[in-house]
């Protein structure tokens, strides 16, 4: 919760603390409920998304169901996704997908956890829709010349996750081993997964 970035956002940090205190004073929430929610958020991280990706790489029927209905596929793996709808977008040899929310910072928290600071920055949100390759290059990601980009602006009730290309050289790997290769940034689409061997 603390750290340099929240210290510099002093006004909002203080307002958030004031609202939290008021809600507790008025008996609308208890400190224990706030803590439980914080703990629940901290417990979720991108490994959930990685496990879905690994399953999809190993099971083409699951992959088809996941691309048709991301929320139902997550629930199939016992991952609670809540009321927001998950759309999984598939990278192919010719298409690379990137996720953003230009209006605020909508993010598939139910599968990826807390968003990184840069995802919420004005620079990322405003630039990735108009110069995506330049932004990806700053993440060290260079796409082959023949790959087109599809940027997904998460403006309303959907949440998005990228299904990255399975790295070459992983034939016969089990799901657990594959899931360990998947990075958070590859699920947002600012990175690709390197081929092995």
């Amino acid at each position: 919760m603390s750290g340099a970035s929240s210290d510099t956002a002093g006004y909002y940090r203080r307002m958030q603390a004031a609202v939290e205190e008021l809600l507790i004073l008025k008996g609308i929430v208890t400190p224990e409920e706030v803590q439980r929610q914080v703990d629940a958020m901290d417990a979720r991280n991108y490994k959930r998304g990685a496990s879905m990706v690994a399953r999809a790489w190993c099971d083409s029927a699951f992959k088809a169901r996941m691309l048709a209905n991301g929320s139902a596929a997550a629930e199939e793996l016992g991952l609670e996704v809540g009321p927001l709808k998950l759309i999984v977008v598939e990278n192919t040899p010719g298409i690379h997908n990137v996720i953003v929310c230009t209006l605020c910072s909508c993010y598939p928290r139910m599968l990826l956890g807390i968003p990184p600071e840069w995802y919420k920055s004005r620079a990322y949100r405003s630039r990735v829709v108009r110069e995506p390759r330049a932004v990806l290059a700053e993440f060290g990601t260079r796409l082959p010349e023949d790959v087109d980009i599809r940027v997904h602006d998460s403006t309303a009730d959907m949440r998005y996750m990228v299904l990255p290309l399975r790295p070459r050289g992983t034939d016969g790997w089990n799901e657990e081993r594959l899931a360990a290769l998947v990075t958070r940034d590859s699920l947002i689409g600012v990175a690709r997964l390197p081929d092995l061997g």
Partner: protein, 102 residues
Amino acid sequence: MRAAESVPARFRVGDRVRVRRADPPGHLRTPWYCRGHVGTIERLCGAFANPEELAYNRPGLPAQPLYRVRFKATDLWPDYREHARDVVEIEIFQHWLERAVE
């Protein structure tokens, strides 16, 4: 949500639509950069309570159909310098869309 509480969907996948160039006051979920631009319906996401009403603690019903609309990046940004085939997909509520006459 009961069907009676949703506005019927007017558009189908592949339809060409133009985003209204409007600037009403309040809480809006339609990004400025796509207003006035023409795109193609990629999918119907379902019907959802209108966020412009929810923001004021009103029920937002009947629910509005929500679409994914695909825009060519070169249509959105006249000075776009990357690939001509790049696209941006945006969720847009039906009441912001009109049929494009081209």
